[in-house]
Symmetry: C2
Subunit: 205 residues, 2 copies
């Protein structure tokens, strides 16, 4: 599976124009990936589209992978942010499991839907995806939240094998959302699926 590339950024821009250059590069990398797929992302094209010379690209990123990794990391950080915000709001809600879960699921769906093309390309085509720290953080965060939620409600919810159940439950929910957002058949509305998903989660608890 090829050796691990260096995904770290090379140099932090300090001046304002340099920051703009880096932003432009990350933007066009994300756009290109989302609209034309991984194979279409070449460093030359990214630089050209960003209105920046290819030399400048390599001033800040050690290689192509680091550029794409950073562009994806940025999007993932936003998804994590919006998802945790949704969770906080859900926890602040009056104590009805249904309303809370519903609110949280919808926050996740909305966060991913905003970036669906980019995420689709990333999940299907980016070979070094799982080396991106932010992605592991996202799934770790979900697992952690789930395990905490289980501990809190350990008197209400009972699993035969709590650890395995929680892991599996979260994996299923996560991928159900991926399916719903990215690969949903056209005759099933998003609304129906989210509603049903909430039902199922409640059934499993």
């Amino acid at each position: 599976m090829a050796q691990v590339p260096d995904l770290r950024i090379k140099k932090q821009p300090t001046q304002g124009r340099a920051k703009a250059t880096v932003e432009a590069l990350l933007d066009s990398a994300a756009q290109l990936l989302a609209s034309e797929g991984y194979a279409a992302v070449s460093t030359n094209r990214v630089a050209e589209r960003a209105g920046v010379s290819i030399g400048s690209l390599y001033e800040y990123f050690p290689n192509k992978q680091a550029l794409i990794a950073e562009a994806l990391a940025r999007a993932l950080r936003e998804v994590v942010g919006e998802t945790t915000a949704g969770l906080r709001e859900a926890l602040a809600l009056p104590d009805q499991p249904r309303a809370g879960i519903d609110h949280w699921m919808r926050a996740m769906v909305a966060a991913m839907e905003k970036r669906d093309a980019l995420l689709r390309a990333a999940l299907r085509e980016v070979p070094f995806l799982w080396q991106i720290r932010e992605l592991r953080e996202l799934s770790d965060m979900l697992q952690q939240v789930a395990q905490e939620g289980r501990l809190k409600s350990s008197r209400v919810v009972h699993f035969e094998d709590p650890e395995a159940s929680t892991w599996l439950l979260m994996s299923m929910v996560w991928s159900a959302i991926l399916q719903t957002v990215l690969y949903r058949p056209s005759h099933l509305s998003r609304e129906r699926l989210v509603h049903t998903l909430v039902d199922m989660v409640l059934k499993l608890l």
Copy 2:
């Protein structure tokens, strides 16, 4: 996302040695994809590893994608075969839902585990994966089986929104198996996860 490549095979081999050539090409394509990833699969390398000249490769496959698609299709056909066999056996079992579901899940897990490296690479890296007919057939088959199963037991099982529920259920089961086989954390044994998965499916019905 680039335009659709022609994935059909170019010419069917008729003589025995030609069949052996095609087999060798498909084998080494699959091996290379499984062990080193999509980026490492170049037509020259595949031919070399197969002990065949590059010209021969293009005698049978119109382009690189068609070669890889056929190698994957072959593996998927095997998975479909073993999965449906497992389902038939499960249906022949004495009428206990738990035993049947358990048997079927195990058949799917086993079929995929046999080819885990190849499937992992395919799912993570092959850009035109969803244009491969055999993959759509696999997911269609699962959905169909699930819908049929629901109709058969419509007096026992009741869903508020049957169609959406079944779709989501099957998606969740499928991806739970993918997770279990391909991305399982080391501290959770496969056995625990399969057992738990069967529990959850029963809960949802």
